[in-house]
């Protein structure tokens, strides 16, 4: 824990220094430009808190994306799942994963395509990219049905 403790400490110190000092001086700090690729940035905003930064999920809580045959399978099926949420395939219904996947219909086709491409090609995964047109097609097939 020593290294971790020091690292956390360093992170905390720099974060606090930035925030505390800016506040004390009455200035608003300019946010640092986010230079991450869009897929990584969007994964960080919408997926990471559950599936974690290494895509391994959390035991008994959220499934791993890393090495997932399902994640690397049919792109349209994956897009459908991310748009509608739930527990996915019949096989996964019997798993001991505790938490439900929320639907992400609030995200646009291009953003979802970035996320899906990212998770299919990161964490040791090696599947094809997903296009915004493919996501749009799957979304259109859902019609106006409410998200599950």
């Amino acid at each position: 824990m020593k290294a971790t403790g020091l690292r956390i400490c360093a992170v905390m110190m720099s974060a606090c220094l930035a925030v505390a000092c800016a506040t004390a001086n009455g200035e608003t700090p300019a946010p640092a430009p986010d230079v991450r690729p869009p897929g990584q940035r969007l994964y960080g905003a919408h997926c990471l808190s559950c599936h974690q930064s290494d895509g391994r999920g959390v035991p008994n809580m959220q499934p791993a994306i890393a090495g997932g045959t399902w994640v690397q399978g049919d792109a349209r099926a994956l897009a459908l799942f991310v748009l509608t949420g739930g527990f996915g395939s019949d096989a996964r219904k019997d798993s001991d994963v505790g938490n439900v996947m929320p639907p992400f219909r609030q995200l646009g086709d291009a953003d979802l395509a970035e996320i899906l491409t990212y998770i299919r090609q990161k964490f040791g995964n090696g599947a094809s990219a997903v296009t915004a047109a493919e996501v749009a097609e799957v979304r259109a097939s859902l019609g106006a049905a409410p998200a599950s």
């Binding site: 990471l48 930064s53 290494d54 391994r56 959390v58």
Partner: protein
């Protein structure tokens, strides 16, 4: 301005980083990589046979360990602390394990059962009896942890199968169901006669409500009262991004330590205790604006508000003979460790001691055992070396700790300086 600013930075750094770093530096050798206060040492009782949960230790030192892979009985035949005999038994895959008189009470997600403990037997050979069964099978917060009082009243934690009772669980912006229907059958403690067999949930009485998931539940014999540490809600940032950011989510929703009284209401899902503001707030699902307080006195305030997402998974009041006087009557809490603090640094993964006097906190909590998680690469819980999940006290007063990653069990004893 600069001085004040630096002072703030240093004080935060001291509480967050340096304290644990110094402890680690001083006692990192031995003890299986765990860091302990001066005078304490840890022995590995068993290396691990798969995810463990709770455990209890009999008067003769035999250890009964529960987990998702089933139950096992452990015996140290030569007094070196290591279990030489490990005997799996029974067919209950779950969490709780408690010795009560001549019985071993255990639970899985849908019921509480018991086995007779007979003299001379390590693993019980008698038939499993059902005390309560037919709780609905749920995916979320389903561990039926429990406590027994000396008269045999059985207090079962029935966690809510939901994060915050949204109309759509864990879905961005979804509002709360009002009233929350889960509270009729979940989200509280139900009390049963623990000496009667073949009961169903209908035989129980709701003892307390508004408890999301009180995995860490314990009868305090010296106070003749029930206590629990409750898992607080997740994801205020991703569900309500206009109100909260990732740092808020990682730090504000307390893990609440309460004395649980008959008829008590502890505020889930309508509120949570905000550790930043130091008071209870209305949950965003129920019209909260990150500040608004509920009606005064409606929900109990916690005895101690522990940091967000640390995941309190077991509670124990120390009454053993081995530890120094300051530990008497105090509370040990096993914090399983966070997942929902990501992308902020994960936290928890430690055993904490909360000094208590007359059933009330007596000073600040202290980290008792740390170093379980190791480096935890990528800030990812899967990479934790160990995660403390169960606590028990042996006949000599040693504290036993069980781990959910590998099923490791440690015995922590005090030998003085």
């Amino acid at each position: 301005m600069r001085t004040a600013c630096l002072a703030r930075v240093v004080s935060v750094a001291l509480t967050v980083g340096f304290a644990s770093t110094f402890a680690a530096a001083a006692f990192a050798d031995g003890n299986d990589g765990l860091t302990l206060p001066s005078g304490f040492s840890a022995v590995v009782v068993q290396e691990g046979q798969g995810a463990a949960r709770h455990l209890d230790v009999a008067a003769n030192g035999d250890i009964y360990l529960g987990g998702r892979n089933g139950l096992s009985a452990l015996r140290d035949t030569n007094g070196d602390g290591k279990a030489d005999v490990v005997t799996p038994f029974g067919d209950v895959k779950g969490t709780e394990v408690r010795i009560f008189g001549t019985w071993l009470y255990v639970s899985d997600d849908v019921g509480v059962y018991r086995y007779a403990l007979k003299k001379g037997e390590l693993a019980p050979t008698g038939a499993r009896e059902t005390v309560v069964s037919e709780f609905p099978k749920e995916r979320q917060h389903s561990d039926k942890t429990f406590a027994l009082d000396p008269k045999g009243a059985l207090y079962i934690n029935v966690g809510a199968p939901s994060n915050s009772c949204q109309q759509k669980d864990r879905q961005e912006g979804s509002l709360g169901q009002n009233p929350c229907p889960f509270l009729e059958k979940y989200g509280g403690v139900w009390v049963f006669d623990g000496t009667k067999l073949n009961q169903t949930p209908a035989n129980g009485r709701r003892f307390a409500t508004g408890m999301r998931n009180a995995v860490a539940i314990e009868w305090n014999a010296s106070q003749n009262a029930l206590f629990a540490v409750i898992h607080g809600r997740d994801s205020i940032d991703t569900l309500f991004p206009a109100l909260y950011n990732a740092e808020d989510n990682a730090t504000r929703q307390a893990e609440e330590f309460h004395k649980i009284v008959d008829g008590g209401n502890y505020g889930w899902p309508y509120t949570f205790f905000d550790t930043k503001l130091g008071h209870r707030v209305i949950a965003p699902e129920y019209g909260g604006d990150a500040k608004k307080e509920p009606e005064a006195g409606k929900y109990a305030n916690p005895l101690v508000a522990f940091p967000a997402h640390w995941a309190p998974n077991d509670l124990l009041f120390y009454a053993g003979k081995n530890f120094p006087a300051k530990y008497q009557g105090g509370a040990f809490i096993a914090f399983h460790g966070s997942w929902n603090r990501a992308p902020e640094p994960q936290a928890g993964y430690k055993v904490v001691f909360q000094p208590m006097k007359d059933g009330k906190p007596n000073g600040a909590y202290e980290v008792f055992a740390d170093g379980f998680a190791g480096d935890m690469k990528d800030n990812s819980p899967s990479n934790a070396r160990y995660r403390p999940v169960g606590l028990a006290v042996g006949p000599d007063g040693s504290l036993y700790v069980a781990d959910s990653q590998k099923g490791r069990v440690w015995r922590i004893s005090y030998a003085g300086k």
